[in-house]
């Protein structure tokens, strides 16, 4: 396995530690997969097989869970995850127009990653900043009271940072 694979570097070891911590705990499979998502960045087939082999849970079970919860991704994400809040408060304050502007600025559809691997665009569930509606989040940083005109500048800022 090479360093560039999702299980490369020290990731397999980190994942082993997470599996050891939760393996014998009741209901431990979900926490293992949550940590695997954090450690590896996604739950692709390699990661799912690895978890299945190490925990003894059938691969179908692991795959069933990986595809059930929206937090898990089967493909690696871009460097920046741009999440537009699609909560009701943001929606009634014009969130949909901001989202259209985001799709235009990144040139990808929701759920997709840009070809340069920089941005993954997501429609997020309510991020709970209704006072800042409409709001979006870039890798945890919140931008609020947005208009479609704000979007190109914000995306450009991250593009420059690379």
């Amino acid at each position: 396995m090479t360093n560039t694979s999702v299980l490369g570097g020290t990731r397999a070891e980190e994942l082993d530690a997470a599996i050891a911590r939760w393996k014998d705990e009741k209901g431990g499979l979900l926490p293992i997969m949550q940590q695997a998502q954090d450690i590896c960045g996604c739950l692709n087939e390699d990661v799912q097989r690895y978890i299945s082999e190490k925990t003894g849970h059938p691969l179908t079970t692991v795959y069933g869970i990986a595809t059930f919860y929206s937090q898990f991704t089967l493909m690696p994400r871009g460097k920046y995850t741009v999440g537009m809040c699609m909560g009701t408060a943001c929606y009634v304050r014009g969130g949909a127009n901001v989202f259209t502007a985001l799709q235009k600025a990144t040139q990808v559809e929701p759920g997709q990653t840009t070809e340069d691997g920089l941005f993954t665009l997501e429609a997020m569930r309510c991020i709970g900043c209704c006072g800042l509606a409409p709001a979006m989040m870039v890798n945890g940083e919140v931008y609020g009271r947005l208009t479609p005109d704000d979007i190109p500048g914000i995306i450009e800022k991250y593009r420059k940072e690379g």
């Binding site: 926490p31 997969m33 949550q34 909560g87 009634v92 569930r125 900043c129």
Partner: protein, 598 residues
């Protein structure tokens, strides 16, 4: 404990953190130290004050000065003027905290707080949630001590029953009854679970409680454990709430260190432990059986009831599951007595309810009101009305399971039963206000889009039925609606309600049914006249340029992405309707308001 002459409370809830409150805390600490008054003044990072609209919020005691929308640059001035010289910086105060004569009002005299009553939120915005000593100083763990040393488990359940408390997660099931059902089964192992998987879009009540007062949930879970005979608790909390998760972890750690959680609590022989499980982004996990499946490490799919979790729940054992806000009321009920709690609210809905007020409202934020307060009071007195003097159209409660309340019901007292009687529901507490610019068909479609996406797929009425409803709404909003569509929607909605497996499916048609009930004319305008009265549904709009107002600057034709606008400079321009994609870019850019939509 050290004595401070003044305390600077900075909101560090998610809303204010998003607008930079952590930097403000650091700036205060730095400036106060620079001024050499760090022995006299304490900076306290707290949970949510409620008035998120004005964040970041800072309150300075003993004066109770309410500073709003504070920037880091403002901090040196507040420190040197207010904290050093004792002169309140008036121009940075929240505008509503000054009366007509420019006198400074105390916090509970401000319109936003005047009609509120804080029970579940009593410590939010008051104590440092990461410091157990502050919680204890506000009667923390006193209710647990009382229960363990003075009350039998039966007496605890009876007290909760007498209080009239009902489940705050949305269903409104009597909490005391739930506790007694979980108390009855004889079992060596039982579990107490807390539902903190707050998934309704536009709702953040539970998050604010966890961020502002995590210990009150832990204490209540222990009381529940004593009452039903459980020794293990689980809190199932959304992973999307990192601050809440962090503070819960700190709270559990501190409680364990002090011997308030773990073995032989208060030397009474009572053992209780609490673990956290993170949700992974599945709305259906708010449903109790789905939540328990998720804690068991499986796909969060609901299962038929009975057996109810009180009989056969987590890992097949009797389980008590309550919502965060429900637990947040428990300690106060134990300390102040059931009669005190039952003295608030309406005949069948006791106590208070927390709402997350959002949408087209001036004071977005978190409010806690006694049951029975009218919607008008919430929106116009507490919420400060609708921005830009627009007209109120509807308030949406209950999220994707609830409905829209129109203007004719503004004076209805809010309680569980009243809201159901007008086709909505209490829900967990999201309240989104809509004005004349919102299209109700579009809103119904928005919620259906959510449920279609979140349906777990187990039962066909929800999996297929909600999708069919969504497709019909899509058809209507795109101008392809036909007579008879409304009746079909109503019929399908009723069938889904009657046949879906769990609460998600059974309530999914509510947003559609309630908007058809109150805004039928809007649906009919879409279907019969191919017109969207609010001007939202793009396919039904047409943009036109008023030749009287157009000066021929050509800006619109330059921004038009479809090349649909043409004309000669300094003469009038016109839109080719066959090319127009209705993006609205021209209207946004026109400086002369010459472009209209209809």
């Amino acid at each position: 404990m050290e004595f401070y002459r003044s305390q600077v409370l900075c909101c560090t809830g998610t809303g204010c953190t998003s607008s930079g409150s952590n930097a403000i805390v650091r700036a205060f600490e730095y400036e106060i130290e620079q001024a050499g008054i760090d022995k006299e003044i304490k900076v306290v990072p707290t949970g949510c004050f409620g008035l998120c609209e004005t964040g970041p919020v800072v309150i300075i005691y003993p004066e109770g000065s309410f500073y709003s929308r504070i920037k880091v640059e403002d901090v040196p001035r507040i420190v040197s003027e207010h904290l050093v010289k004792g002169r309140i910086v008036r121009d940075l105060l929240y505008s509503e905290s000054l009366d007509e004569k420019e006198n400074i009002l105390s916090l509970n005299e401000v319109e936003f707080y005047k009609k509120q009553k804080r029970v579940a939120l009593r410590n939010c915005g008051v104590i440092d949630p990461e410091n157990i000593d502050e919680y204890i100083a506000f009667d923390g763990y006193k209710a647990l001590a009382k229960v363990l040393t003075e009350m039998t488990p039966e007496a605890v359940v009876e007290c909760v029953k007498q209080s009239g408390l009902r489940g705050r997660g949305g269903g409104g099931f009597p909490t005391g009854l739930k506790w007694s059902l979980a108390q009855k089964p004889v079992s060596d192992i039982k579990y107490v679970c807390c539902n903190a998987d707050e998934g309704d879009p536009g709702a953040f009540m539970d998050r604010s409680v966890l961020e502002g007062d995590p210990h009150c949930v832990l204490e209540a879970m222990m009381i529940a454990g004593y009452a039903i005979g459980a020794q293990q608790g689980y809190i199932y909390v959304r992973a999307e709430y990192p601050i809440a998760v962090k503070r819960l972890r700190i709270a559990i750690g501190q409680a364990k260190e002090m011997g308030l959680l773990g073995d032989d609590i208060f030397g009474t022989g009572f053992n209780f432990d609490i673990d956290i499980r993170l949700g992974s982004g599945a709305f259906v996990c708010g449903e109790e059986t789905a939540l328990l499946a998720s804690i068991e490490g499986e796909r969060g799919e609901p299962r038929p009831r009975p057996p109810f979790p009180a009989v056969k729940g987590l890992f097949g054992k009797p389980t008590l599951l309550n919502n965060v806000e429900t637990y947040a009321n428990i300690c106060q009920i134990i300390l102040n007595g059931a009669e005190w709690f039952a003295g608030m609210g309406t005949e069948k809905s006791k106590g208070t309810k927390v709402f997350a007020l959002g949408g087209k409202i001036n004071n977005t934020g978190l409010v806690e009101i006694p049951m029975g307060t009218t919607l008008r009071e919430v929106i116009y007195d507490i919420g400060g009305g609708i921005p830009d003097n627009k007209g109120f159209k509807a308030a949406q409660t209950g999220g994707p399971s609830g409905g829209c309340i129109p203007v004719e019901h503004l004076d209805i007292p809010i309680d569980y039963d009243n809201l159901i009687s007008i086709g909505s529901m209490m829900g967990s507490g999201g309240m989104i206000v809509m004005d004349e610019d919102n299209c109700m068909v579009d809103i119904a479609k928005f919620f259906l889009d959510f449920t279609v996406d979140e349906s777990c797929g187990k039962c066909p009425p929800c999996r297929i039925g909600t999708r069919r409803m969504y497709e019909m709404l899509e058809k209507i909003t795109e101008g392809r609606g036909e007579p008879g569509d409304l009746e079909k929607l109503e019929q399908l909605g009723k069938n889904i309600k009657a046949s879906a497996l769990c609460g998600l499916g059974q309530t999914a048609p509510n947003p559609v049914l309630s908007t058809i009930r109150y805004f039928r004319d809007e649906y009919e305008a879409h279907i019969n006249e191919k017109r969207c009265p609010a001007g939202v549904c793009k396919a039904l709009l047409s943009y036109s340029i008023d030749p009287e107002k157009c000066i021929g600057c050509s800006l619109c034709s330059r921004v038009c992405p479809a090349g649909a606008i043409s004309g000669e400079i300094k003469k009038t321009f016109a839109i080719d309707q066959s090319k127009c994609i209705k993006c609205g870019a021209c209207m946004e850019k026109c400086k002369f308001k010459a472009i209209s939509v209809g």
